[in-house]
């Protein structure tokens, strides 16, 4: 399968990555080569393949609150920007909108 620059740009958008000039073309070539190798998976006849395995059940654990946000400084200790126990991000809702 050929991966073209347009597909690379669309996947990069999904992955929240920007591409610099020419990077889409280079990645398209590299990924085409890798995905060409993946074609080996098609050599297995369908009737030989087991059905898609169900994910194993996840054992549940007790849901124990670790305290109020302000009491957990370690949660925001590594944040680039934090205030009053919360993460600070650019404004996403405008005052008038």
């Amino acid at each position: 399968m050929k991966i073209d620059s347009e597909l690379v740009r669309s996947v990069a958008r999904l992955a929240a990555l920007d591409l610099v000039d020419g990077e889409d073309t280079r990645l398209a070539e590299e990924l085409t080569r890798v995905v060409d190798h993946f074609e080996t998976l098609r050599r297995v006849p369908d009737d030989l393949l087991p059905p898609l395995p169900a994910p194993p059940p996840t054992p549940l654990r007790a849901d124990l609150p670790a305290g109020e946000p302000g009491e957990r400084p370690f949660v925001t200790a590594n944040a680039p920007e934090a205030s009053h126990g919360h993460f600070v991000v650019p404004r996403v809702v405008s005052r008038n909108g």
Binding site: I3, L7, V8, V11, A12, L14, A15, A16, L17, D18, L27, E30, L31, R33, V34, V35, H37, F38, T40, L41, R42, R43, V44, L48, L49, P50, P51, L52, P53, P56, T58, P59, R61, F74, T76, A77, N78, A79, P80, E81, F87, V89, P90, V92
Partner: protein, 493 residues
């Protein structure tokens, strides 16, 4: 006194632990000498990203207090290096990535806490391929690591710094993580013992996730007994990891000297001519190791795991798919570096674009592609079904043998820069390690000789789930029968 300490650090961890336990030396004295070697190893080989002398000496003093109070610890005072994608309380975790600049771990990973409980003293964090994505340590954002056996060569990866630190005699023991071979392959490249446990045996709490259905932490050591001691300490259920095995781990040390008599060793038919080729010295070492086990009373049988030839493709679809999801958390909001952009989504993109290196971006794109609408069924779901088929293949093979012997890697260590331009060639070299990862099986790499260029060669033994005691006993037999392979020219004294 100094020379005694040097000899202890050159030797097995279990002898060092005995010396500390019997108060012939103190953990502090050992830590001081080790820290000196760590600084040299960092300068010569680039093996460490962070060194913590004050914390290490304080931890050593605590071990000395525990010894004085009569506490028995199997790894008392053993200096430990920890791969930088595994959390150590109070130390940075970058996982070899710029995107985690400034991150300091709040607590210990379970495997680190357990090794500390067993007496280990953490001296620092080791370099690795960014988020564990690589087989050469060249994908670290902080520069390559040099192999103590030949500084122009890679130490393997992704746990390259851990392997180089142990091989150079800076520490006797290190933690690595293995998603598709990242403990076993560097062990092979640096003449060490490296163990990838049964999936779920060692809890993943505190590991920076790459591919959660595959990631396992494991020890890197200079002999099988040390690896077994460390693995025994690291293993066992953990309520903080939902995928950790609930059953008690098997006893690893009782059968360590049991030998290979009566074991049926499978020789993997698919290992004879892997895509990308098999180095002739590696082929010869495989033959020698098989004969060695046969002389020790094992029976050799030829086995086939037909889907081994598809494992690289299945692995690189599934691991990258999981990575694309796991690495979505690095967005410049909760931890690490931040780059301002246009609004919130601009901030995400700017942070990720500046923070991730080229191989990580490549894998995120590959995984996003394999999961995206219109491609998911053809790639991701098909790879999952091939993974299930591979597990069936292994189960079938283990009806006629107890363990499978094959090289850990098709070639010895290669030169820094030699394979960097060809991602696919690098991926194909994982052909012998990814099958056990996909099937969740335990596997270890044990030193099996040197190439004509005096580069280490490792052999892999893989067995059914829970077969670590047998694999360690077989590895011990190879080690005992084959003897020593000497010290690397880059060993630090």
């Amino acid at each position: 006194m100094t020379s005694d300490l040097d000899l202890l650090l050159d030797g097995p961890a279990h002898e060092l632990a005995a010396a500390v336990s019997f108060r012939k030396v103190t953990a502090r004295q050992v830590a001081e000498v080790s820290l000196g070697r760590v600084a040299k190893s960092r300068a010569l080989h680039g093996s460490f990203l962070h060194v913590a002398p004050a914390a290490a000496l304080a931890a050593a003093d605590e071990v000395d207090r525990r010894v004085a109070s009569g506490e028995a610890m199997p790894l008392a005072g053993v200096p430990l290096a920890v791969k930088d994608n595994v959390n150590v309380a109070g130390l940075p975790s970058t996982a070899g990535s710029r995107i985690l600049a400034g991150f300091v771990a709040a607590d210990d990973a379970t495997c680190v806490a357990r090794l500390r409980a067993a007496g280990c003293v953490v001296v620092g964090k080791t370099s690795c391929d960014e988020f564990g994505m690589g087989s050469s340590n060249e994908n670290s954002a902080f520069g390559p690591v040099r192999n103590p056996w030949d500084p122009s060569c890679v130490p393997g990866g992704s746990s390259g710094g851990s392997a180089a630190a142990v091989a150079a005699l800076a520490v006797p023991l290190a933690i690595g993580t293995d998603t598709g071979g990242s403990v076993r392959q560097p062990a092979s490249f640096c003449s060490l013992v490296g163990v990838k446990p049964t999936y779920g045996r060692v809890p993943r709490y505190g590991l920076l996730a790459y591919a959660s259905s595959l990631d396992q932490a494991g020890p890197l050591a200079r002999n099988v007994r040390d690896a077994a001691l460390a693995l025994a300490a690291m293993s066992g259920p953990d309520p903080r990891d939902a995928t950790s095995l609930r059953s008690a781990p098997p006893e690893l040390l009782e059968r360590l000297e049991a030998g290979a008599a009566g074991a049926r060793i499978g020789l993997l038919a698919e290992a004879e001519a892997p895509e990308g080729g098999l180095d002739s010295d590696v082929g010869a070492a495989l033959e020698t190791t098989a004969r060695l086990l046969e002389s020790a009373g094992a029976t050799l049988v030829r086995v086939s795991v037909p889907r081994v030839s598809l494992a690289v493709a299945a692995y690189y679809i599934l691991a990258t798919a999981e990575a694309s999801s796991n690495l979505a958390r690095y967005d410049g909001v909760r931890y690490g570096a931040r780059r301002e952009g246009d609004g919130l989504s601009g901030l995400y993109r700017a942070t990720r674009t500046a923070g991730f290196g080229p191989e990580v971006k490549r894998r995120i794109l590959l995984g996003t592609f394999a999961l995206s609408s219109g491609y998911r069924e053809a790639w991701y779901e098909r790879a999952q079904r091939v993974r299930a088929l591979l597990a069936i293949d292994f189960a079938e093979a283990f009806r006629s043998c107890d363990a499978i012997l094959c090289p850990t890697a098709p070639q010895p260590a290669f030169r820094i820069g030699e394979k960097g331009a060809d991602p696919l060639a690098m991926y194909l070299a994982d052909v012998f390690t990814v099958p056990a990862s996909l099937a969740g099986l335990p596997a270890l790499s044990v030193p099996a000789g040197l190439s004509r260029d005096r580069l280490p060669i490792g052999m892999q033994l893989a067995g059914p789930a829970g077969s670590e005691p047998l694999l360690l006993a077989l590895g011990r037999e190879v080690e005992r029968a084959a003897g020593e392979w000497g010290r690397p020219p880059g060993a630090i004294r």
